[in-house]
Symmetry: C2
Subunit: 368 residues, 2 copies
């Protein structure tokens, strides 16, 4: 394998700390080994701290973030159910599509690319449609928008609607408070602000969500993602019944990555992302480049920036990679061909990376 | 993490070669990096060699073997379709359940635990029910039975029934010939005879299977496993469209593991499993222990063996682990509480392991 040395400043994966890579290279225990199960329990405890939740059902799904999205939807939705999804980019659209494939009637609440969804508009839509599930993307990786959710959670608390939040890019990068915000189900990715390789999706479900799953009248359409079966293995009370073979090495990596997050401290980590994201935003603005996410709702860990008219963005992106070893992401959807997505996630979120990418972009601009 | 030193001789995961663990500890490339995509292409080429197929659509699903099973079923089955599944243990039952959750009417062809399914009985059932999909488990990990499939494939070739084969435990351990046997869809696991950590499921689909997927009248119920979407990323002709983030580190490990398989040579690897499996079977018989899979259909890589009356199998299994660091598996289903499953898979399939486990069992028996 030819593996050039890259600095990963795209929309994920982010650079992985050497301690995580070391953990993944340990010889394996079996998934039912009495010395492995406590490691799984510790991971779930660590995840509860990151999600700021006391949810008993908190664990990593054995697949990537999009499978975490699917796990939340297919467990909580039955054919014929009504679902409301906020759509302001690729990942909101994806959640709506996953819900349709689960047999739901989906109503979307939309905002233009680069904008957050107005909380009151979303709350009104939920009151109007009375869905079983209302879903939002916290950190929209396609637009760099930071969606406010606390007021929505407060408004939906006590209703029959479960509130689901996509935390793939938000977890451990900006504040995430599952319990304070009355979130019933959330999913994340490992390859963003956790800086663990892609392959797992941490999820958490409230007791109300679990009760909904237990009271379904139809089986969950996915056997692999069926919570009631998964709990037989995950939960010591479930008797540790074999379901599928847990991805041992990825779990070793996740354990090490979560250790790093908790050693730094969640508040300190969020503050680091905030400070360096702002430094990047200010630097790009100084270079005369437009930030595409609306002011006040910009994610520090994922920045969408417009390129000057006439620039071949793919060619510039290739130059950044070939000349400096820096990976940034191209725009998606409405931003395709005219914007970049610059990630400052987890271990990639370092001041030296901000300085480097700003200097490299300045040189591309000057040499035009 | 407390990680005791184990020899993995259970039903998987098997011991992982150090070269695979080293590959997994390499810093990451992005999933769209022009230097990563050729690695993915090479993996798919390697997998074609292992499956002995020219199927264009051959790749690792980004989740474990059970998700590979689900990928095959949900892509090839639409609600209301008829499916025939051979059931002779846990994994046949699982395939039937996954098909039911995809909306199929499922007819099972059963054999007692420890027996193979009679090929003619299976063929007759397929002719009677004319299903869209007929599924069998090649190496039944719960019973240690090696299912003959070549005659079934020949009989179904040219009919409208697609033939699916579970190769989770068979691939690279016994002969697997997708094209010669007219298999339309197959899935495997990485943590068995490939000796790569769990987390990926190599799959392969014939052109007829892909045509079936493309002509569906309903969307695939799983967005994550939808082949038509996955091909946009996997296939250079698909434009390398982002679908989900590929599990980079696991793919590095798979690439290294497949290199090891192909360096040894498939025939040599199958012969090694055959020779050492027979040595284990003979040794267990010499100790007076009954082999639970019928003669003539015993897998070399997974042996089910009965324990003497009155033995507490869980306690003996714990002693084997605590005193000698050897993991074997307990019996499942009808064999629970009275049998062990001893794996000799991939890197765990070594003569020294056969000698060790036989000697350790002999001592347990003598000390009764």
């Amino acid at each position: 394998m030819h593996l050039p040395d890259r600095i990963l400043m795209g929309p994920g994966p982010s650079d992985v700390h050497p301690a995580v890579l070391r953990a993944m290279s340990a010889p394996l225990l079996g998934h039912l080994d009495p010395d492995f199960l406590p490691i799984l329990d510790e991971i779930n405890d660590q995840l509860r701290q990151l999600f700021r939740t006391s949810n008993r059902v908190t664990f990593p799904v054995s697949a990537t973030g999009s499978a975490g999205m699917e796990a939340v939807v297919v467990n909580l939705v039955e054919p014929g159910d009504t679902v409301v999804v906020g759509v302001k980019g690729v990942f909101g659209s994806r959640m709506a599509e996953v819900a349709r494939r689960a047999g739901a009637t989906v109503h979307t609440v939309e905002a233009p690319w680069g904008n957050a969804i107005d909380p009151q508009t979303f709350i009104d839509a939920v009151h109007r449609h009375e869905p079983v599930l209302a879903g939002l993307v916290h950190a929209e990786t396609s637009t760099g928008v930071h969606q406010p959710v606390a007021d929505i959670g407060a408004a939906l608390a006590g209703t029959d609607t479960l509130f689901a939040l996509d935390c793939v890019t938000s977890l451990a990068g900006v504040d995430v408070r599952i319990d304070d915000w009355h979130i019933d189900a959330a999913y994340a990715g490992t390859q963003k602000c956790l800086s663990v390789p892609p392959g797992l999706s941490p999820v958490t479900f409230s007791d109300a969500a679990i009760e909904r799953v237990r009271n379904r009248s139809t089986p969950v359409q996915s056997w692999y993602l069926d919570l009631t079966l998964l709990l037989g293995y995950l939960d010591a009370e479930g008797g540790r019944t074999y379901h599928h073979t847990a991805p041992i090495s990825m779990l070793y990596g996740l354990h090490a990555g979560l250790d790093l997050v908790l050693s730094e401290g969640l508040d300190a980590r969020v503050a680091r992302h905030e400070r360096l994201g702002r430094m990047l935003h200010d630097g790009l603005a100084s270079l005369g480049l437009p930030l595409l996410a609306e002011a006040g709702h910009r994610l520090p860990q994922l920045t969408t920036v417009g390129l000057p008219e006439g620039v071949d963005e793919a060619k510039w992106r290739t130059r950044l990679q070939d000349e400096h070893g820096i990976e940034v992401g191209g725009g998606l959807g409405e931003f395709a061909g005219r914007a970049w997505r610059i990630g400052l996630m987890g271990h990639s979120c370092q001041e030296r990376n901000v300085l480097l990418v700003l200097e490299a972009i300045e040189r591309l601009l000057s040499a035009r």
